[in-house]
Symmetry: C2
Subunit: 266 residues, 2 copies
């Protein structure tokens, strides 16, 4: 499956040395400071997936960005905290220079066919969605294609009454989706306060959660097609705000829901 | 502050023995099997709050329900994974019989006054909301008062096109709100599949996340008044579904947002 021609696979190309798992930050996924949070989240999940004791498929992942990840090598320590008959719980640490920089918890489980329904309405993407010019965005964004409706493109850089956005997301170049890449795509939505206030200030995600609504079969069926991402914020209060988003297939299948709480300075 | 006449304070009345923190399940917070998840989540948070190294106020908590909590004693092991200048990250384990039954991560931080806004619209509770008869509900629910609109009371026990609910939540008897009790209140929303399909089947929360939008001053200002809880589900798919909810003051202040992913059998 792994094709090291793609930046995403290079960024998650870990090395096992003396039974310990090491990775290193990839310049193509650099953010303004340190790496893109989505690639760090994907690394935390992949540390569980490649663990010899892993059972089942990812159901949820929560990542805590405890400190700035420095460019360079990191160690990933994934520990199954409890393995049951059909679920497995994980605690993961990313370590640099003997200090924890990122922690995560994850749940894996065996899926079985059940009754299904989607209560959330499928949002309608405007027909005039066109690729967004990413020249002003950090390196990591160059690994994605975002098609945005004209109305949304016109609003960029202007203060807005809320922070709702709706646009497509696809790996650039296209790459068959998997759990780590879906995880990274759930963190491509810029901090909502940037959309809302249209001004730069110190800000950064503190904690990120994703719920997977797709199993391996659904990911395979989706292949390398684009997803539709719908995001908004809830409340901005005394240094922290939360935002939520959904990732849909163009056919209206909800693949993942995600939330995060973000630090902001002013 | 602690008044051991209230069940909630009794349930979180921990004991420090040889530097280790122990608690025990309280019959008043029993669920169908084991304790109410909300009281377990509150215990995980309180283990951080009472830790001698704790700094700042809770910003977020994620709880992973790894195995059924047995009635009786449990140990709480709270570890600060990284302490920065203004944020502190935690990993918490609840242990019974030498096995991990619950894990959690939390972030604490120092709040500072900033620009504020709430993008999410405040939902309007119908004027005819009246206390809901909790006789059919498990023991834990007797510790809360829920005022529900007539239209919602009429729908209970009937299959529905979605799982949205809107009702008040208040400790019974009233108790000044704090971070642990706000956490527990974020888990009072019954599994959405029960509302949606109106039939019982095995189900249980696997992971729960809360984002706090209130600081200590906001909680003190709120006192023991009721909150308004708004909940719904997103997608039910092959054994797991997610639900989200918000907790508002009657004046329209958003106190917390919460999500959870829930196991279901059929």
């Amino acid at each position: 499956m792994t094709n090291l021609n793609h930046n995403f696979d290079q960024a998650l190309d870990f090395e096992l040395r003396d039974g310990r798992l090491f990775g290193k930050t990839h310049p193509a996924y650099a953010n303004m400071i340190g790496p893109f949070g989505g690639i760090t989240a994907a690394a935390m999940l992949k540390a569980c997936i490649v663990h010899p004791d892993a059972q089942g498929e990812p159901i949820t992942l929560t990542v805590n960005f405890a400190a700035a990840v420095q460019n360079g090598e990191f160690e990933l320590i994934a520990t199954p905290t409890r393995t049951g008959r059909s679920t497995q719980h994980w605690f993961v640490q990313m370590v640099q220079n003997d200090a924890v920089v990122t922690t995560a918890t994850a749940v894996f489980a065996t899926r079985r066919e059940t009754w299904q329904a989607t209560d959330l309405p499928f949002p309608q993407l405007a027909a005039d969605a066109e690729p967004f010019n990413r020249d002003m965005m950090p390196p990591w964004a160059q690994n994605y294609t975002f098609r945005m409706p004209g109305e949304m493109r016109d609003l960029i850089g202007k203060e807005q009454p809320n922070a709702e956005t709706l646009h497509t997301i696809q790996d650039n170049p296209p790459r068959p989706i998997d759990f780590p890449s879906l995880t990274a795509m759930a963190d491509v939505f810029p901090p909502r306060i940037l959309i809302r206030r249209a001004k730069f200030a110190p800000m950064g995600t503190v904690a990120f959660t994703i719920y997977f609504h797709a199993d391996a079969a659904a990911l395979t069926a989706h292949g390398d097609s684009e997803l539709i991402g719908h995001a908004r914020a809830n409340r901005y209060y005394n240094r922290y705000f939360d935002q939520s988003a959904e990732l849909w297939t163009p056919a209206g299948e909800l693949m993942a829901t995600t939330t995060q709480i973000v630090y902001f300075k002013e």
